[in-house]
């Protein structure tokens, strides 16, 4: 191999072995892991490609949510008071609870990946189930939060918090922008949670069947990356939506 080039084969060896890749694309030799795809040299390259791929995808997600944060920043710059008063309508306790729930789920997710790395099938299954349960809890709490907005309540006795014709007329108009962004941002986040739970169910089924171990845990790790990312989005959403200004608490 030429010197000084970035290694494309992290195993550090030259692939001079002539395996059965010529033409047919099937592995005749037993030395290849059954999960090795034909266009990769070895499992390391496959894992590195998958990890890099997931991170590149997460960059697209950063930019996707980024557009929403951009709108938030612009309107908060224009309407700081409406932003504070609108934030007071959100239930900080539930928001904080959900933050804790997601952080816990990230822990169990990391432990699930670790279990795969050390070959503990029970560890994977337990931690994946916990992760899914935390995710579901998050969504249930979200449901209750959303439901409260559709009716009148403290601070908005004359209307709902749904932007549009039913929005409480006594509140500043710019609060409708806040709530539009609130619903869209947390809604898209929740949609990502749903997808994440779906992915975890599939991974759980595979883990239950003992598919993952120290020599093959890529799908768990890569799904974990997605899950942690969804957690990170919430880490930013929580303070920006729920904790504005110094006077919250009591604004339900």
């Amino acid at each position: 191999m030429a010197n000084g080039h970035e290694s494309t084969m992290p195993g550090g060896h030259a692939a001079t072995t002539h395996d059965a890749h010529t033409g047919q694309g099937h592995n005749v030799h037993g030395s290849h892991h059954p999960r090795l795809q034909h266009h990769f040299y070895n499992m390391d390259q496959q894992l590195e490609a998958s990890t890099l791929g997931m991170w590149v995808f997460l960059v697209t997600e950063i930019m996707f949510f980024g557009g929403l944060f951009m709108a938030y920043i612009v309107y908060r710059y224009w309407y700081p008071d409406a932003w504070v008063s609108a934030s007071n309508h959100l239930d900080v306790g539930l928001g904080a609870l959900n933050t804790g729930v997601l952080i816990f789920s990230s822990l169990t997710m990391a432990l699930a990946v670790r279990s795969a790395q050390v070959g503990s099938r029970m560890g994977q299954v337990v931690n994946l189930i916990l992760t899914i349960m935390f995710g579901a809890t998050f969504l249930v709490v979200k449901y209750f939060e959303y439901a409260a907005k559709f009716t009148t309540g403290k601070g908005h006795e004359d209307g709902t918090l749904i932007p549009g014709p039913t929005f409480s007329p006594s509140l500043p108009k710019a609060e409708q922008l806040f709530f539009a962004l609130y619903f869209i941002m947390t809604g898209i986040h929740a949609a990502h949670m749903v997808v994440g739970i779906g992915i975890m169910l599939v991974i759980l089924a595979m883990a239950w069947k003992g598919r993952f171990g120290p020599d093959y845990y890529g799908p768990v790790e890569v799904s974990g990356l997605y899950w942690h990312f969804v957690d990170i989005v919430w880490i930013f959403l929580f303070p920006l939506l729920y904790l504005l200004g110094a006077h919250f608490g009591g604004g339900h």
Binding site: M70, L107, L240, A246
Partner: protein, 104 residues
Amino acid sequence: MSNSHTHHIITPVGTYVAVFVGLLILTGATYVVATIDLGWLNTPVALAVALLKASLVVIYFMGVRYNTPLTKVVVVAGFFWLLIMFSLTMADYVSRPWIGVPGR
């Protein structure tokens, strides 16, 4: 050839739990600081704490500290690009009043 994971380090459980506890503490801190009126400092502090929490998740839970330099560049680039969008757009909004353009 199928078992070449010799370079992949496995993080101890204790580390993960420590990070978890740290994240909970930081969440509590954000909550508490938000109840104190620091004026214009409230927002930067909240963002700084959020950034710290996100960094902990990225470095430890997502394992980026053991990833290749390329992966690290990808992570940083993503957030950096967001900053480009934020700063150049806000350059417009912040400077509009300087010349009294109608429409804010």
